[in-house]
């Protein structure tokens, strides 16, 4: 039977059904347990990063190569015809997708992946479009929650930091809304979750509450999802002020539940002090490593009728 993600674009978590999510997770667990080296054999995948990234790009490229595929692409658009000669984004996408079996794209503009998908004859996988969506990050987050908690159902999760621009938070909250999550939101006022997303959570029947400090939510959650306050969004003084209020230290974890795990999409800057790394709650490095399996699962399902 053809899997439902075969030849599909992977653009937005909002298009995923529970069936899709569970199929990706099941495949990712399977690939973690029993690695495969043949699923992308003879495939060439375009990996085009118009915006810098370390983990996402390297884990996509690693996933492709581990599955037996080959990679073309760039990690910085400055040296392409688009950056150098003024070629339009749509023309660049038309050409690159005519060379490849699938396209992975990261872009600083929201909607870039969808636009590429509209003109591409091959499946497009969104590796982050501005502050909009980052579905493979969401899948690796869900994978890690499942791995650490044994279920996605009825999870209590706190999102801390930049809830306004942080696309990982938006996408994960949306996905968890399918699983009756209880959501705690902790952010400075200027980085609060946008109203349209809160409205969306309400509409989906998700229970959420807004808090001022990390300490008050720690005893209640299974997952503490930390995010970086993005320096580039603020002037220096405002940034220094904001970041100092949302820093996680080991003493704050004394009331944490035993099963509680700290996740972070990384890179972390100051928001988790290095001493937290040695606590049993720190799971962010393992989470990042899980990126390989989540991305292997997505690529395998999109490019193989059956696994």
């Amino acid at each position: 039977m053809t899997n439902p993600l075969f030849q599909r674009d992977i653009i937005s978590i909002s298009e995923f059904t529970k069936e899709h999510i569970e199929l990706i997770l099941k495949t990712a667990f399977e690939l973690k347990k029993h690695p495969r080296t043949d699923l992308l054999k003879d495939k060439v995948i375009g990996v085009t990063f118009f915006e810098g990234s370390t983990r996402t790009r390297l884990s996509f490229e690693t996933s492709i190569q581990r599955l037996g595929g080959r990679v073309i692409g760039f990690s910085d658009a400055a040296n392409t015809s688009l950056g150098k000669k003024g070629e339009t984004f749509m023309d660049s996408m038309r050409i690159i997708t005519s060379y490849t079996d699938a396209l992975v794209i990261r872009h600083n503009k929201e909607g870039a992946a969808r636009l590429a998908a509209d003109i591409s004859p091959v499946p497009v996988i969104n590796a982050g479009d501005g502050s909009n969506q980052h579905p493979s990050q969401t899948m690796l987050d869900l994978f890690t929650i499942m791995e650490t908690q044994g279920t996605l159902q009825n999870i209590s999760i706190a999102f801390v930091g930049d809830l306004k621009y942080g696309r990982t938070v938006h996408s994960l909250a949306e996905a968890l809304s399918l699983y009756n999550a209880r959501v705690f939101l902790v952010s400075p006022e200027s980085l609060a979750m946008p109203k349209y997303l809160l409205d969306d959570l309400s509409k989906k029947g998700i229970k959420f509450s807004v808090h001022n400090t990390i300490e008050e939510v720690i005893p209640m959650v299974d997952i503490l999802y930390m995010t970086r306050v993005q320096k580039e969004r603020f002037d220096e003084t405002e940034y220094q002020h904001l970041k100092s209020k949302f820093i996680l230290t080991p003493d704050m974890l004394s009331n944490a539940k035993e099963n509680m795990k700290i996740l972070h999409p990384l890179p972390r800057i100051d928001e988790i002090v290095p001493e937290v790394d040695d606590t049993p709650y720190a799971y962010y490095f393992k989470q990042a490593a899980n990126g390989i399996y989540a991305r292997e699962a997505i690529l395998s399902l999109v490019l193989n009728k059956e696994l």
Partner: protein
């Protein structure tokens, strides 16, 4: 002012057109936006507009009569975003040859620009912004197909120079 004078003036207001279209039952305030959207003022077509006219249905309404214009289905969809309850009367030789009520479309393509300045459609000349349209609690909402942001109709109109 004599009564006959008043009569002739009110008659003038509703002067029939030989060929063209009458858009009736436009929500008050939106006629000017429809005129702006289609840039009617820059054209030669004879144009009569009524603002805040009495209407049984809406209390008040706007009306547009424009000669020698027949709206395409795509254009009537555009009008429907501004005036979802308007009626289109197509006139030929002073007679109404077609009359229909507008319905809010499910989607618009290439009509409005996306108010999100970081949306790819504002960067790529050849890209057309597309919005999925829904109505919630009497509010008309437009969701961009690309950046996935949801805007109220008023925000989209304002951004596109069609605000009141």
């Amino acid at each position: 002012m004599s009564s006959s004078n008043t009569e002739s003036k009110s008659k003038l207001l509703v002067e029939a057109i030989a060929n063209g279209t009458v858009i009736d039952h436009i929500a008050p305030g939106q006629a000017i936006n429809i005129i702006r959207m289609f840039k009617f003022l820059g054209k030669d077509n004879q144009l009569t507009v009524g603002f805040n006219l009495r209407s049984g249905e809406l209390g008040k309404k706007d009306i547009i009569k424009i000669s020698n214009v027949v709206f395409s289905p795509a254009q009537t969809e555009q009008i429907a975003v501004l005036a979802p309850n308007a009626t289109i009367n197509q006139i030929e030789d002073y007679k109404v040859v077609d009359k229909y009520k507008l319905k809010l479309p499910n989607e618009t393509v290439g009509v409005f620009k996306c108010p999100n300045s970081n949306c790819i459609t504002n960067d790529e000349k050849a890209a057309h912004a597309r919005f999925k349209i829904t109505k919630e609690n009497n509010e008309i909402l437009l969701k961009c197909r690309y950046c996935e942001r949801v805007f109220s109709r008023e925000v989209v109109l304002e951004y596109n120079g069609l605000g009141n």
